[in-house]
Amino acid sequence: MSDAVLLDAQNIVKHYGSVEALRGASFQARAGEVTSLIGDNGAGKSTLIKCLSGAEQPTSGRILLDGKEIHLDSPTTARRLGIETVYQDLAVAPELDPAANLFLGREIHRRGILGKLGMLDKAEMRRRAVEEFKRLGVTLQSTDVPIGSLSGGQRQSVAVARSVVWASKVVFMDEPTAALGVVQRERVLDVIRKVRDQGIAVVLISHNMPEVLSVSDRIEVLRLGTRVARFKAEDTKLEDLVAAMTGALTQEEVA
């Protein structure tokens, strides 16, 4: 575990018309750690992730990456800075094969004139995809079937792989294991641990508290649009998390 804060969000405020989704929420993620972001429905988790991944722009507040202030005007900007997001849904193109999905939007062109004309180097993409899947421990029966014909767990593993392969700094995962079976869930969690071990900051949103406790290094709790508590996972019990989420426990002063 390192102590260097990689991603530092300070006093993020987000209004949707008259609705205050975030009221000065702060959040920190460290390199080589899994930080879970938990909270009850409507606490502002998804909005915060959207602001930090460039999908939405905060009304006010500062975001620092590696100590430098950044402005995320689109997910593309965030990606360029090494910040990737795994979405709960709509993450993959079901008719394309795993390699095509992995390289979607980042296709490798052939060398020379054919590449200039837009021809893709499918063999190279497939080779590198297999390499990356192996590295992350994603098992697939075949790399040339449409991803839609894979099982839910494999599909989600590919979706996770797709983001983490390209992330150099931070990966956000919004309920990556929702709707998965026990074995499949374990497989996705393994991928998450592998990513963390590469020194990337993983931010996990989950409603599954045992899962949060088993995979996280740190846990931050949101309630009503602000951070109310921070825990280190090793010395935290389930009851503490629930207490913080429901408002029975507050460590931080509301900003």
Partner: protein, 347 residues
């Protein structure tokens, strides 16, 4: 962690096989529809070997499908993006009309004796006319986000109306004889009609574009899951616009080809071309839900109705049966596609 890692790794090693060609063939819709085509040709050949399996039959068969093939290649791209283009037939007529009027204007009202210079200007005019309609379609669909069915239903009527307006509702009949003789009826390479060569070249370029380039990959991605494509940083709006531009461009070329072949703008003849192109594309295994399809499948899909019609003519079965048979094949093709999707989604 460290103890389980090798075990995961070993299962991975065995797991990244490519399916054999046989497995992939049987899994592809295109394979089955190709079998249908081969079976049709075999049946008609066995029934009337002297008439059906002749060079002349195949020449006319190919010529008659050339124009539709060019339209259908464009349609394949559109349907793969899960769109539709009902306007291609009208745009074809409009482009032919613009081409004919341009050539007439350049030769003082009668283009029959016009040379290649005038013809080239006519071709450029046809292509521009088609591309403009493609742009209108693309802009309204991709930027204004109006459903493709409605947009192209509107431009279908509008393009035809505009074509009527250009010549007060009558055909342009003074088409350069030299164009009609070379592109329309001429042959090269020992008997291959020139019109067919043009269609084949366009089809090959279309297949190359769809199956090997980034443009093609994005076409599949947008049709498969537009939201995922957008999140991957693909400019979905721009890409859709380009796809409709391409379809309009090809409809422009098809208009020029049709003018060369019929030596007339044939205002009333192409009203069903849009549906024929859609039917051919869908029969060829391109999914109306997007993300799936191939140019090869579309080629086969274009030939099934054509072979049926020729075959029925030769065997003296009323060719109204062709319409019924094509309808049945079309519905069957979509049914198979639906079943495939349901099986997949239930996993």
């Amino acid at each position: 962690m460290s103890t389980t890692a090798p075990e995961i790794q070993s299962t991975v090693e065995g797991g990244f096989g490519k399916r054999s060609i046989g497995q992939r063939l049987v899994g592809a819709n295109t394979f089955w529809i190709a079998l249908v085509l081969v079976a049709l040709i075999l049946v008609f050949t066995l029934l009337r070997p002297a008439q059906f399996a002749t060079l002349f039959t195949f020449q006319t068969l190919l010529i008659e499908t050339s124009v539709l093939l060019v339209l259908s290649v464009g349609m394949t791209f559109v349907i793969i993006t899960s769109g539709i283009d009902l306007s291609v037939g009208s745009v074809l007529i409009f482009s032919g009309m613009v081409c004919g009027k341009t050539m007439e204007a350049l030769s003082d009202g009668n283009a029959s004796n016009a040379g290649w210079g005038v013809i080239t200007v006519g071709l450029v005019a046809a292509v521009i006319a088609g591309t403009i309609w493609g742009f209108i379609n693309g802009f309204l669909i991709a930027v204004a986000k109006i459903p493709p069915l409605i947009v192209t239903l509107g431009t279908m009527g509008a393009a035809l109306g505009a074509a009527y307006l250009l010549n007060n509702g009558s055909d342009v009949r003074s088409v350069p004889t030299v164009l009609n003789k070379t592109l329309g009826y001429g042959t090269s390479l020992g008997g291959v009609p020139n019109l067919v060569i043009v269609a084949v070249v366009i089809t090959l370029i279309g297949a190359w574009l769809l199956h090997t380039t980034k443009f093609g990959r994005y076409t599949y991605a947008v049709g498969s899951n537009a939201e995922a494509a957008r999140r991957s940083g693909i400019g979905v709006t721009r890409h859709l616009l380009k796809v409709y531009l391409l379809t309009g461009f090809l409809a422009g070329i098809a208009g020029f080809m049709s003018l060369a072949y019929y030596a007339s703008t044939t205002i009333t003849a192409h009203t069903n071309d849009n549906l024929n192109a859609i039917a051919a594309t869908v029969m060829g295994g391109t999914s109306l839900f997007g993300g799936v399809g191939s140019v090869l499948g579309t080629v086969i899909g274009v030939f099934i109705p054509a072979v049926l019609k020729k075959g029925f003519n030769i065997t003296q079965i009323p060719d109204f049966w062709q319409m019924i048979a094509v309808g049945a094949v079309l519905i069957a093709a979509v049914w198979f596609d639906q079943r495939r999707r349901r099986r997949r989604n239930s996993r």
